[in-house]
Symmetry: D2
Amino acid sequence: MIKAGIIGATGYAGAELVRILMNHRETEIVWYGSHSHIDRKYAEVYGNMFRIVENVCRDDNLSELAQQADVIFTATPQGFLAGMLTEEILEKTKIVDLSADYRIKDVSVYEKWYGIEHKSPQFIGEAVYGLCEINREKITERTRLVANPGCYTTCSILTAYPLVREGLIDTDTLIIDAKSGTSGAGRGAKVQNLFCEVNENIKAYGVAGHRHTPEIEEQLGYAGNCNVTINFTPHLVPMNRGILVTEYAKLNKKADGTLPSYEEIKAVYDRYYDTEKFIRVLDKGICPETRWVEGSNYVDIGFVIDERTGRIIMMGALDNLVKGAAGQAVQNMNLLFGLKESEGLELVPCFP
Amino acid sequence: MIKAGIIGATGYAGAELVRILMNHRETEIVWYGSHSHIDRKYAEVYGNMFRIVENVCRDDNLSELAQQADVIFTATPQGFLAGMLTEEILEKTKIVDLSADYRIKDVSVYEKWYGIEHKSPQFIGEAVYGLCEINREKITERTRLVANPGCYTTCSILTAYPLVREGLIDTDTLIIDAKSGTSGAGRGAKVQNLFCEVNENIKAYGVAGHRHTPEIEEQLGYAGNCNVTINFTPHLVPMNRGILVTEYAKLNKKADGTLPSYEEIKAVYDRYYDTEKFIRVLDKGICPETRWVEGSNYVDIGFVIDERTGRIIMMGALDNLVKGAAGQAVQNMNLLFGLKESEGLELVPCFP
Amino acid sequence: MIKAGIIGATGYAGAELVRILMNHRETEIVWYGSHSHIDRKYAEVYGNMFRIVENVCRDDNLSELAQQADVIFTATPQGFLAGMLTEEILEKTKIVDLSADYRIKDVSVYEKWYGIEHKSPQFIGEAVYGLCEINREKITERTRLVANPGCYTTCSILTAYPLVREGLIDTDTLIIDAKSGTSGAGRGAKVQNLFCEVNENIKAYGVAGHRHTPEIEEQLGYAGNCNVTINFTPHLVPMNRGILVTEYAKLNKKADGTLPSYEEIKAVYDRYYDTEKFIRVLDKGICPETRWVEGSNYVDIGFVIDERTGRIIMMGALDNLVKGAAGQAVQNMNLLFGLKESEGLELVPCFP
Amino acid sequence: MIKAGIIGATGYAGAELVRILMNHRETEIVWYGSHSHIDRKYAEVYGNMFRIVENVCRDDNLSELAQQADVIFTATPQGFLAGMLTEEILEKTKIVDLSADYRIKDVSVYEKWYGIEHKSPQFIGEAVYGLCEINREKITERTRLVANPGCYTTCSILTAYPLVREGLIDTDTLIIDAKSGTSGAGRGAKVQNLFCEVNENIKAYGVAGHRHTPEIEEQLGYAGNCNVTINFTPHLVPMNRGILVTEYAKLNKKADGTLPSYEEIKAVYDRYYDTEKFIRVLDKGICPETRWVEGSNYVDIGFVIDERTGRIIMMGALDNLVKGAAGQAVQNMNLLFGLKESEGLELVPCFP
């Protein structure tokens, strides 16, 4: 059995890790780290785990945990892991980091968008960006550090990736309008996330400045082998889980001056994703909906070509706590240990 | 592999059966019956099942299905199964009926509360009331017909059962105030169940006349070996899943004229339920919440004694589509085939 | 114009006072007191008031405010007003207190249930319990201090009042099961009130110990001229506004041993409430729903007699922020100044 | 008093008309037309109107109603009014049509997008497009027929209008991503609008084909004096009321090759809207949220300039049933009869 530790086990992403690992046949959780609930029974903090998890919460001592765990999941605030990580730790254990600390290769971009100094840039080069469907071959039993992608990012990138990589869209025109459930805002006690403030409301936030922007740009830049600069606008939706992205871009015309057809675009998506267990390219005329992926590790993708404007509207949906966080982290762990990639992730979406 | 057929597979309870059986290692679904979607792909009706279920919907031909299936789940309107069931069918297959047709032993009570004639009362005696924790020993490989209990009923009965059976409460004073999510109202297109009608609202309905009343009374009557007549009031809550019951009753005084203590009552609950996998009696001071059982087969139970009034307030929570419908149906199926009772039901509650 | 000041103007009840008073033709707000937002524009805290309210928030200096205001609304935590109130203040201004400080006549009951010492019990006797429909004649231009009733309390009392007063029910059997929207929990930043914690959930809380219990008991005791001891159980519902109470009691039999009929009970309700503008006794067969009173000062009341158990089920619905708080406070203010009682309160319920 | 009739009074927009007109001092409703509820008390269909509206529902006889009413509101399906309207009717009464029948000047565009033949194109030229803030001077006591704009349309146009009219943005790059509450889908009994289908979900619909597209294009074309072709994508959000639009466009550079500054753009918005009672251009850094306009006739507008991409992100929020339907209809009526434009519309937004 793989011994797993979680730092930040009482946040929403941490709790989802616990839920998923409960049904993972090759893993046991040996450490429920929670800065704010030390020595309290985990099941008192998350009542769903009553009689399932008997452990008490531990602190966030990464060094001590590294001695006990084969893999550590850090579901912690930005800067936490960067401030704690050492070579000694990485010699003892693997780390899947759910924060942004090692996602962006250019440390100055990280420091600009996150507004904090990066305390351990020496590990950035080693860290693998853990978007499994794209970087699978880099996530191996020799990998020590995985930067697990953000929720908006995973959805945004996977939805556009094949078309960017194949040069089918003009990335200068790419606009991503994203909508997220409220669990993405975390479990901190903030007035703005109270029930009465979120319910019966929709709003944009972080307009032209959300931190997932450079992460999307960097990864799509690798895909297209070009600089990508986008508009990314997240919105808060009164629901617990789910992210939907609606992406707009000009389709590049073919040599004969016409637009590619639906079937041509569909064939490209299918070529990239047909064998991917967790990506479902929907049938013609079907748009993704967050309800159809809830509780699962799926990303659903659909698109419509608008002949009038020459644009394609690409849409993607995922569960922000699963494929957007904990599910993808477990998928990465499976790759890190040479397990079946879908182990513990055969979660059937739960509707209604 | 057990071959299972579902009649009514496109209702909410039927869809939950599909979700659960997808992860059941001993069963395959051979028939997705849906009167209103015949010949349509199941995954077009329930988009969550895209690339998971490839089957198309079939009709509701019980006789034909009985030839192919080892077990049939009927998630159908009241009266459907009673009008179709024959000895020939029961000789070929087992049936777990999620409707009320065979739940009530006194056919006149059924006909009065449901307002329809019972077309096959000859099978009522044979049918076992499938509340597994209470009737487990009657649900065996020899059983042919199981009447799967109602959602309100399961929650109401299990919450009070040990105290009724031990004579600790005065059943004449028993009042059950129940609250349910909206999936309990089914997937029919009715104005009263539109989003805008249910959202931002709570109401009572079926006051003093809800059909689950006689079912609760009959079963608690067996438990207490007495006639039980209760008030049962259901309410509609703006959420998808979950039932919470709040039950009030006078505690019977002990021989010395005092009320039983918290610890004495708790000991009774524990005696009945400590070994039950799917019933969690909560710790002192913790009240059940529907969010802690969502997506799982658990029933959570808690209680408070009010010395001022001499009453006990018992509370129970479950997921109406799982322990209140499909989960319990699978639990019954497991018993019918001598499988591990929890096979396919090791569902960790999903929060948030 | 009556000059009104609000202490606690940035809580939900305070904000609702602002909304209502904006359309009150005889009042202007001269003071938006907010301990936590001093010197900030009110419309920055409540964006709905942008370009409607230009004022900045002030502190909670009751003495200073008393010099400027004809009436002060205190929408403050328990104990605040009791600790600040002086004879000097009451000589200068009238006070409508939305907290519990002067609601309960027996100071020891207050101190027991609220767990704090009462700092100015000398004013308890003078304070009028501001349930307008019952105490209207005591709320006059000579009244200086009104204890505005609680939200659960208003709904609970008005629903049962005529039957208690007429001796039609056995108050020893009275059980009140109440359900509230989340605005009743206030705008404090608490994890338990985050969107993801409240959404898709229902729970009981304060079982056998909620502070509105003695307030209900005292007032119903006055009505029935007897000691009343009840069970009161509040529940939290995932919606912004609204309270629904479901009340159960044994009907007293008539001299001939029979139960009173529906028509007899209805006649009693009508006798008490037919001329009340803000109480609507619904037609036979209609149960109150919170959506039908949202945004208005109405209380809707309905009932069902259950011949089987001899009980009556009474139901009441109101908007906890209007008739349960700010609307009733304005109704009291209107009485205090001899205005038309419904001034500013002709709010048509808003649906959907 | 102006005598008003409503055809379609039991739909959501019709019900909102009733709510608003209850507080309109110059109007009385003389006809509650409802095809599906003829002879039923209006307050039985909308319980909020109990003891407020005593009328029973009437049929949809436009000719008869024209004899009794000074103004008729038609909140009816597309094609209804076009099939009924005659010169005789318009000689007797004014009509404010909430459907799309007379909004689009080019009848072939109407017939293409709506898929129905237009039965009375002779009135299209006469009809005034009732976006009051833009067409105010055309809506006079001589006007007989007003085409009340759509909900998405009102929000989309007003948000971009000043910049389009001043040539500040490149309309070829304009993309409108819109999000709506569910009341916009109407009160028809459809599975897709059931609570459990909408709750906990977000989806796009009508992608590249929604009927409000040509209406937006036509009106923005008039503003910019050019052909406008846009992408418009509506989304369904789990809330009752509210529309938020997020609009993206390239800013045209100034003569010196630089982008206009925030202050320059703000000055343009202010020039157009500062004197508009119902349009609130928000302060820098504030994004519109639907909760801040709920129940009111306001449109809130904000914007952010993204220097990185050279785009402006404009955002607008309104209540789809008020400024997006019934409120604007009343605003039009006020203009038609020379009343104060805001009569009956001084609705303070209701939060929470």
